[in-house]
């Protein structure tokens, strides 16, 4: 059962990568960048001067065929990880994924202990 579930998860994660990349790339990037002078909005959702300036710069970079990674690196170098909405995958952020995974595993074992397969 657990093995099937892992396969399911794996297929799912693969497909999320496909699903997300099918949307407009420029908008995806703007949605992933925080407008630093706003209250929690992304560049895509902001009309502030800073957001518009940054969008122009990113558009130029996209026209120069820069990759998403290069654009994000440029921004993180200057503004820190905080400017990106997707959390970076570093050792310091691994708990973001570890802790839910641990909950899953621990919960699963607790459940297993409680099952009885009798008919009634």
């Amino acid at each position: 059962m657990r093995f099937l579930f892992c396969i399911f998860l794996f297929i799912y994660f693969l497909s999320t990568q496909l699903a997300f990349s099918s949307l407009d790339r420029e908008i995806e990037i703007y949605k992933n960048i925080r407008c630093l002078v706003c209250q929690g909005q992304s560049l895509n959702d902001s009309n502030s001067d800073f957001a518009n300036d940054l969008k122009k710069i990113i558009k130029t970079k996209l026209d120069n065929n820069e990759t998403d990674k290069q654009i994000y690196k440029y921004l993180v170098e200057r503004y820190g990880d905080w400017i990106l909405f997707d959390p970076p995958i570093k050792t310091k952020t691994m708990f973001l994924w570890l802790i839910p995974l641990l909950t899953l595993i621990i919960g699963f074992y607790i459940l297993r202990k409680k099952i009885s397969f009798s008919k009634d």
Binding site: Y12, I27, G40, W97, P100
Partner: protein, 631 residues
């Protein structure tokens, strides 16, 4: 004047509230008889005193009594009456008073509607509820006094922020509080049950209504907030995984798990300890959400009265209540081997156990996502953001599994392995779901695994509910479950469609010009200015064509003058459950066109309808009296 009466009411309320636990403790310590009637009477008096204080505050706002600091900072003579009233709770102090009013209201309702309840359990519950009320009254009077004065008295107020003048925004806090603050009563009822050794399946029957009622309000409060964000903020979205949204979602998830856990406790006489933990956790999460929102610790769209000093006090209150509650739990929880009970595989109670497992997983994800930036900043001095992609990616697969569970679970029986009997029907319904998914996928021309899973699983749930109603021939229906589960299925169905088929596009269009995007054509037909009492409004008339459909929209930009502020008002029209949605951008240089944001929100009407269904389900669950046999 009103302010003086208000403050006096509050102080009196504090004193009477203090009297309640004192009376109780005296009775407990000296084993004397407690005069129950006068005991409840004092609590009821405290409720009326708090209510009066609240009414005095409302009066002060309505009459623009700027001698009160809260009124000065948050109101204005030119504010329309409705918003003067709602301004009462649109600030930290006023909303804390509302918070306490709800605590007291739930205690009051509990006394009123527990006529046949064992006096010992009843009075102990009131005791705990009065302690919570007392703690927050202290907090209110000493750190957040709504009647604090300002001298000299100003002539005019500061609070005319137009974004806060909105009917939904006005209604949002009362519903939220009737929700998550209402969990305080279940918390008290739990502690009372543990202390008086009456924590049993019977306790669970009593507790049900006190979990359904706040849950229903909380569901609706969250839905209101989402709907407000959609049409007011102008970005076409309805959920942003913003920390403040998450703050209300956390108690919602916990209380959903709790509803199911209480059902197991009542019907299968298991999960006693776990239910107790959940009941404490739900209320603690409500308070924790309050802390996150008011302390300034997180940055979000909704910054609200951020004050670290008050945040610290709330932190202490949360810690004290959590510690005390868990100590009582540790000392009094049943150790009679009840929780080493085993669950028959594929019994109803087992399916609910798995339901709780998944819900707790979802809760963990939301808690971690919301608090991780804080943890990282404290331990590593770094700042990161956690956006929607994190939550969507991790939670989506679990929602799909969850939907299937919701479909199968109700067919299972309490205490029995009953799967073999209904297995045949399951395969049928599964096949029908897959078939329908294939049809939808073909019609809409979308091939994507996530899309298929989302549609198939939600359709599966909806069909099994429809099937169940026919199978049971419309008798003995558990309407609460049917509506809320169907609503949830419909919600995921519409979210899936909305996610894959919505369109958005931003551009500049000059007057008279038009722009094309995929199969949409947007024409800027005309513009028109108008002057109102405290703002000037520039309307843009737009026509959007999609195929043979033509929709006229008129978004606007408002320029307020005190203080000078621009807002963008959206224009939304619904066509066959989908929204055509436009917002204008105020630009300094309109010579090459005004910026316009267009969103086509696919099937969003169905999302709102789903919220209503779920809320209705909660309400039906609340009013349901004696249970149908095995439902």
């Amino acid at each position: 004047m009103a302010s003086d009466f208000g403050l006096v009411s509050l102080v009196l309320a504090l004193m009477i509230t203090a009297l309640v636990p004192l009376l109780f403790l005296k009775h407990a310590a000296f084993k004397t008889e407690l005069n129950y009637n006068s005991f409840y009477f004092f609590f009821k008096i405290s409720f009326f005193l708090i209510l009066s204080a609240f009414i005095f505050l409302v009066i002060s706002f309505v009459f623009s009594d700027f001698s009160i600091l809260a009124v000065y900072e948050n109101s204005h003579i030119d504010k329309p009456l409705f918003y003067k009233i709602s301004g009462t709770w649109g600030n930290h102090e006023g909303s804390m008073l509302l918070f306490i009013l709800v605590i007291s209201l739930y205690g009051f309702l509990f006394i009123l509607f527990s006529k046949n309840l064992n006096e010992s359990l009843k009075s102990t519950t009131v005791f705990f509820q009065s302690i919570i009320q007392l703690i927050f009254l202290f907090f209110l009077i000493f750190t957040s006094n709504p009647f604090e004065k300002i001298i000299p008295v100003p002539n005019q107020g500061l609070g005319l922020n137009p974004i806060l003048q909105d009917p939904l925004l006005a209604a949002h806090p009362p519903f939220l509080y009737l929700g998550y603050v209402g969990f305080s009563l279940l918390f008290s009822l739990l502690l009372a049950g543990l202390i008086t050794n009456q924590y049993s399946a019977n306790w669970a029957s009593i507790a049900k209504r006190w979990i359904f009622l706040p849950w229903t309000f909380l569901t609706f409060g969250i839905a209101l907030g989402s709907f407000w964000a959609y049409y007011e903020l102008g970005w076409g979205g309805y959920w942003f995984w913003d920390p403040v949204e998450n703050a209300s979602l956390m108690p919602w998830i916990a209380s959903t798990a709790l509803i199911h856990s209480i059902l197991v406790m009542e019907k299968a006489k298991k999960l006693f300890n776990w239910t107790a933990i959940l009941a404490i956790l739900t209320f603690v999460l409500s308070l924790f959400g309050t802390f996150l929102v008011r302390s300034g610790i997180l940055n979000s769209v909704h910054a609200f009265a951020n004050d670290p000093r008050r945040g610290f006090f709330i932190l202490i209150i949360i810690s004290a209540l959590t510690f005390a509650a868990f100590v009582i739990f540790i000392l009094k929880s049943s150790r009679q081997g009840k929780d080493n009970a085993s669950y028959i595989f594929l019994s109803r109670e087992f399916s609910i156990l798995v339901n709780n497992y998944l819900l707790i997983f979802a809760l963990t994800v939301v808690i971690i996502g919301t608090t991780y930036p804080i943890l990282l900043s404290v331990f590593a001095g770094e700042s990161i953001s956690i956006g929607p992609k994190y939550y969507n990616t991790i939670l989506a697969p679990f929602v799909f599994v969850f939907l299937i569970l919701m479909a199968i679970g109700p067919y299972l029986k309490w205490g029995k392995n009953f799967f073999s009997v209904v297995r045949f029907k399951f395969i049928n319904i599964l096949l029908v779901s897959i078939f329908l998914t294939a049809i939808i996928s073909f019609i809409l021309q979308k091939q994507d695994i996530v899309f298929w899973l989302g549609i198939a699983c939600s359709v599966y749930l909806i069909i099994s509910i429809i099937y169940e109603t026919y199978y049971l021939k419309f008798t003995n229906l558990n309407y609460g479950r049917l509506f809320s589960h169907a609503g949830f299925g419909l919600l995921i169905f519409s979210i899936t469609l909305n996610y894959f088929f919505s369109k958005e596009f931003t551009t500049k269009i000059p007057l008279g010009g038009s722009a094309n995007y995929q199969d949409f054509k947007i024409t800027f037909v005309n513009s028109f200015s108008q002057k109102q009492k405290n703002y000037e409004e520039l309307f843009g008339y737009y026509e959007v064509e999609k195929g043979s459909t033509k929709v006229s929209l008129k978004p606007s930009i408002r320029k307020y003058n005190q203080p000078e502020q621009f807002t963008s008002e959206t224009s939304i029209k619904n066509q066959w459950l989908s929204d055509f949605y436009i917002a204008m951008d105020y630009s300094k240089d309109p010579s090459n066109g005004i910026g316009v944001r267009f969103y086509f929100n696919y099937f969003i009407g169905l999302i709102w309808f789903s919220f209503v269904l779920i809320t209705l389900g909660g309400f039906l669950g609340f009013i349901q009296r004696k249970n149908e046999k095995s439902n």
